[in-house]
Symmetry: C2
Subunit: 355 residues, 2 copies
C-alpha cells in the first residue's frame, strides 16, 4: 500500500487528503446505515415490533455526533498509506462508531442522563412510553431494560462490522473494548466514593476516554493498513491528545453551553463524577467537595468556586501543553508531512472544540 | 474430517462419544477460566479495583450452570465428524457460554432478580455494597450500572473467544446474537403489555430461547466442523427441542423447587412474563390475568387455578410431542447412529430436567 499524497504542494495536498478522508467518513456513515437497514429488513418480516431497537440506533446516528473515532481511525489508516478504496477501513471505522453508540446508550443509563444529541435518551424515551401507556411493571425498569438491550445490540453490530476488517486488528479491538468497560467501571466506582484522587482520576480518564477515543482508533487504522510499526508514535500522540480531549470534556460540562453540547451541563457535579478538573480543584479548596455533595447549592456556586481556585486556567495551560506533546510525538513518525500537519490540526480541533 | 466412532458396538460407542464430549466440555471450561485469568493478570497491574468486573464473571462460572449451549455445540461438532483436538471448537463452545453469562447478568437487571445459581445477582450484590459503604448516589443505579458493565464485558469476551473459531462461523454467530437481543426486547415488551397472545409468545420463545439454546449452538458446531449441510436437520431438531426446553422452563418457574433451580420460583407471575403456559391458561380462564396483575393474590392461588385449567397437563403432552418431533428431524440426517441416539437422549434430558 502506498500513499498517493506525493503529488502536490501544501494547500493542494491538504485539500486532497481532506477530500479522501471526507469521502471515507461518508462511506462509513453509509455502512452504518446500510447495516441497520439490512437488519430492519430481516426483522420487519419476523415481528412488527422487532425493529424498535434497530430504529433506536438509527435515530441516534441521524441526530448528530462528532464521529471523532472514525475520523482518527481513517486518519491513522491514510497516514499509514492505506488504500482509500479498501472496504476494510470502512468496516473498521463503522465498528468504532457503533461501539460508541453502545457505550452512549449504556452510559446514559449509568448516569441517568435525560438528553443526548438534543433528543431524549433511549431509557428516558421508553420509560415515558411505558408510563403513558399504563403498562405493567415499573416504567424506569422497562426504559432501562430497553436501553440495556439496544446498547447490547449495538455492541453486537459493532463486532459484526469489525469482522469485515483484516483479522490482524483483533487484538487491538479486544483491548480497546475491554478497556472501555473496565474503565467505565472504575469511573462509576470513583463517582460513588467521590474522594479526590487525581492520580486515579487521571488513570481512569486515560483508560476510558483517551485511549478509546484517539490512541486505539489511530492504531486500528494503521493496523488495517498493515503498518503496526506506527503504533508507538500513535500511542504517544493519542495519550496526550486523549487527555486534552477529556479535560476539554470536563471544562465543557462545567462551563459549556448545553445548546452547543446537546446535553445538560453540570452533570459531572450532580453525578459526583470525579473528573480531573474537580479532583485538582478539591485539592486546592476542600469546600468544593461539600458544595457538590451537600444539598442546597447551585451549579453556579460550584462554578464560581472552581474559577477562584485557578484550576480552570491551569487546565487550559495543561491542555495547550498536551497538544504540544502530541505534535512532538509524531514529529519523527514515518508518515508524510501532510499527515503530520493534519494530525496537529486534529489535536487542536479536539482540544478546543465547543461541543 | 471423519468420525472415529465406527469401531465398536452400542454401549462402547456411547461410552466413547460421551468421554470425548466430556473432555471437550472440560477444555471449554478451562478456556473460559484461562481467558479470565489472563485478563485478571493484565488488569491487576493497571488498577487494583479493575479486576472486580472480571471476578464477577469468574464467580458466576464457578457457581454452577448447566452448560447447555456448549454441550449442544460440541454435540453438533462431533456428530458432524469434527476433530476433537481442534482448538476452534473449544473457542466456539466457550464463546457461547460467555455470551450466556452476559445475557444472565443483563437479564437479572431487566427482571430485578435477586438470586442466580444460589448467589446474589451482580446488581443486587453491588447495590448492597454501595448501600453498606454509604457511597454517593443511589445504590440501585450503582448496582445496575456495575451489572450493565459486567454484562458488556462478557459480551466482549464472548466475541474475543469466537474470533478463535473458523471465520465461516461469523454469519451464524451474528444472527444468534442479534436474535437474543431483539428476542429479549420483544419479551420485555410483551411482559409490559401482558395481554394473552399465544402466537406472539410462541414466536418470542422460539427467537429468544429455542434458537439460542439449541438450534444455533448445534449449527455453530456443525459449521466449525465444516458441515453446513447439517444445518436444516439441526434447525428442525433445535426448534422442536428448544420449544420443549422453554416450556419446561415455564413449568419449573411455576411449579418447580427453588432449591433445585437456584433462583426464586414464581418470577414469571410477579414479572408478568407472558409465557406460553400463562398465555394458553389465560385463554381458557380469564380470571388468571387478574390473579396475576391485581394485588392480594398469592402465587399458590395462581398455581391452583393454572392446574384447574388443565393447561399444565397439556403442556406436558406438548413437550412429549416436541421431543418426538425433534428425534424424527434427525432420523435421516447424515450422521452416525450413535449421535442420533445421543441427540435423542439430550432432547429427553433438556425436556425433563429438574432445574
Amino acid at each position: 500500500m502506498t500513499s498517493d499524497v506525493t503529488i502536490d504542494t501544501g494547500q493542494e495536498a491538504v485539500g486532497h487528503i481532506r477530500r479522501t478522508s471526507t469521502d471515507l467518513l461518508r462511506r462509513i456513515e453509509d455502512r452504518l446505515n446500510s447495516l441497520l437497514a439490512a437488519e430492519r429488513d430481516v426483522w420487519a418480516g419476523v415481528h412488527p415490533r422487532a425493529v424498535v431497537p434497530i430504529n433506536a440506533l438509527s435515530e441516534l446516528i441521524t441526530s448528530g455526533g462528532k464521529r471523532i473515532r472514525p475520523a482518527f481511525c481513517v486518519t491513522g489508516y491514510l497516514a499509514a498509506g492505506g488504500d482509500p478504496d479498501d472496504p476494510g477501513i470502512v468496516a473498521a471505522g463503522a465498528a468504532l462508531e457503533m461501539l460508541h453508540l453502545s457505550a452512549l446508550v449504556h452510559d446514559d443509563v449509568l448516569d441517568d442522563s435525560s438528553q443526548r444529541r438534543g433528543l431524549p435518551t433511549v431509557h428516558t424515551k421508553h420509560a415515558a412510553l411505558h408510563d403513558s401507556r399504563g403498562w405493567r411493571g415499573e416504567p424506569r425498569r422497562y426504559g432501562e431494560g430497553v436501553a440495556i438491550l439496544v446498547g447490547d445490540l449495538a455492541l453486537v453490530y459493532s463486532d459484526e462490522l469489525m469482522a469485515e476488517a483484516p483479522r490482524s486488528v483483533v487484538p487491538e479491538w479486544n483491548r480497546l473494548r475491554s478497556e472501555v468497560m473496565i474503565g467505565q467501571y472504575l469511573d462509576v466506582h470513583a463517582a460513588a466514593e467521590f474522594s479526590a484522587a487525581p492520580h486515579s482520576s487521571r488513570l481512569i480518564a486515560r483508560i476510558k476516554s483517551g485511549r478509546y477515543t484517539i490512541h486505539r482508533p489511530l492504531v486500528v487504522g494503521a493496523n488495517v493498513a498493515g503498518r503496526n510499526e506506527l503504533a508507538p508514535a500513535f500511542e504517544e500522540y493519542g495519550e496526550a491528545v486523549g487527555e486534552a480531549f477529556q479535560l476539554r470534556d470536563d471544562l465543557l460540562d462545567a462551563f459549556g453551553d448545553s445548546t452547543d453540547t446537546g446535553k445538560p451541563t453540570g452533570l459531572d457535579f450532580t453525578q459526583h463524577k470525579m473528573t480531573l478538573l474537580l479532583g485538582w480543584a478539591m485539592q486546592r479548596d476542600e469546600r468544593i467537595h461539600s458544595l457538590i455533595t451537600e444539598p442546597g447549592h447551585t451549579p453556579d456556586e460550584v462554578r464560581r468556586r472552581l474559577v477562584d481556585t485557578g484550576v480552570p486556567a491551569d487546565v487550559e495551560r495543561h491542555i495547550a501543553g498536551l497538544v504540544e506533546r502530541g505534535c512532538k510525538a509524531i514529529a519523527d513518525a514515518p508518515i508524510d508531512q501532510v499527515w503530520r500537519s493534519e494530525l496537529a490540526d486534529m489535536a487542536m480541533r479536539v482540544a478546543y472544540r465547543k461541543a
